[in-house]
């Protein structure tokens, strides 16, 4: 199926300025697909964003991004990835803070 070892490919039919494009991401699933879809939809410059897993036994997802004002969907994707990383860091920090606070019940679990 895949002829290249690229992680992301732009599928046929994208507009020339990439203001509307479908990206195929290899070796990803709903895990990244849905998270990216959500954060892309949080971008006010994104007109439409959706993702699909075209076939359950192929490890690919497709993300469709359409932009307002002929902006580049690729730049929106890059911004979404940055935002998602910041979000991950924020959750990680909040979690370790809560863990260090020690303000929780500890109990002994018999195995």
């Amino acid at each position: 199926m895949s002829t290249t070892d690229q992680k992301i490919r732009i599928l046929k039919g994208a507009s020339a300025d990439l203001s509307a494009a479908t990206y195929q991401v290899c070796n990803e699933s709903h895990t990244m697909g849905n998270a990216l879809r959500w954060i892309l939809m949080k971008n006010p410059k994104v007109e439409f964003c959706g993702y699909s897993v075209p076939h359950p036994s192929e490890p690919n997802i497709q993300i469709r991004i359409q932009m307002y004002d002929n902006l580049s969907s690729l730049q929106a994707l890059l911004k979404a990835l940055d935002d998602l990383e910041n979000l991950c860091n924020a959750i990680g920090e909040a979690y370790s803070e809560s863990l260090q606070n020690g303000d929780f019940e500890r109990w002994d679990e018999k195995s």
């Binding site: 002829t3 290249t4 690229q6 992680k7 992301i8 490919r9 732009i10 599928l11 046929k12 039919g13 994208a14 990439l18 195929q24 991401v25 990803e28 699933s29 709903h30 895990t31 990244m32 849905n34 998270a35 879809r37 959500w38 954060i39 939809m41 949080k42 971008n43 006010p44 580049s72 690729l74 730049q75 994707l77 890059l78 990835l81 940055d82 935002d83 998602l84 990383e85 910041n86 979000l87 991950c88 860091n89 924020a90 959750i91 990680g92 909040a94 979690y95 370790s96 803070e97 809560s98 863990l99 303000d103 929780f104 019940e105 500890r106 109990w107 002994d108 679990e109 195995s111």
Partner: protein, 352 residues
Amino acid sequence: MDVNPRRLVGIGAERISNVADSEFPGHYPNEDNSWDLEKFKRKLTVQVQRLSQRSIEFDLVGVDASIANAFRRIMIAEVPTLAIEHVYVFNNTTVIHDEILAHRLGLIPLNVDPALLDSRKDGDTPTDRNTLEFKLHLECSQNPAFNKSSLTTNPNPSDDDLYINHQLLSGHLQWIPVGEQSDRMTDVGPTTKDIVLAKLRPGQAVDMTLHAVKNIGSVHAKWSPVATATYRLHPNIIIKSPIPIERADEFAKCFSAGAVKVDKKGVVKIDKKGMRNDTVSREVLRDPEFKDMVELSRIRDWFIFSVESESAYKPEQLLPEAITVMKQKISEMRASAMQLSQASEDVPMADV
């Protein structure tokens, strides 16, 4: 507890409502709702609730289901662990077939920190960097200390009385350190030593060499670091009109124990802590009188995670590991997207 009604997923007798989040740019007039890290941080709460040596319960409040679900999925399927993958059978005269025994061996959780080893792709040569070696050798025999005369004192002898080594246990795995491994790790073996792998009778024996490698749960569930990793949404019960005093106890019985408290006068109150554990069974909605007095719902962005570790990871390590994996995925995608944007102007488009 007053919760913004926008955050609630309505639960009716036979339907649920407002399942999806609607806070996107352009949805509400005069509201921004675009991604804002500072705003996100203000709303975010992560609170560990319970921790044991095997499991953790924590609240993740203020994130979308897609994010919470990503972490749940990663914890189950993409955090790497070690498991036995290759089994070399020299002798197996037990009643368990080689392939069944090999499968059972694969499922044994190992107590090795996966960070100490590299993953091994198909076709890679096994080295001390990517493979752990174990020996499994056991022979069953009669117990010479037990003979016919022992039957008079012990007429119902157990297997332990009659035989030596009549059970093949996970604790029989013997780690063979290779190369530098003995410097880098100690006491490698199964997390639980009393898993029965096979039962033996005198004359039966097992002699195997095993290779454990690092991989992820999406390849095979034996590499999954968790027994369970689930979340549920925080329940929310609202009493809209006072409950008749004479039916207060009946009302309380519609909920999980502790969710609804009735005081001496018969006044009904929702207990915040108890509400958390309510199953939202909707029993209360079956009563024609009660059904209009309450509103059942769940809080859409309040995830109560429950994670049980079944691996070398401590339960509190699993979310940080999942975050690390997520960030790896992001940087992998970013590298590729950067390449595309640099090659831009003339991006080659792929056929589907």
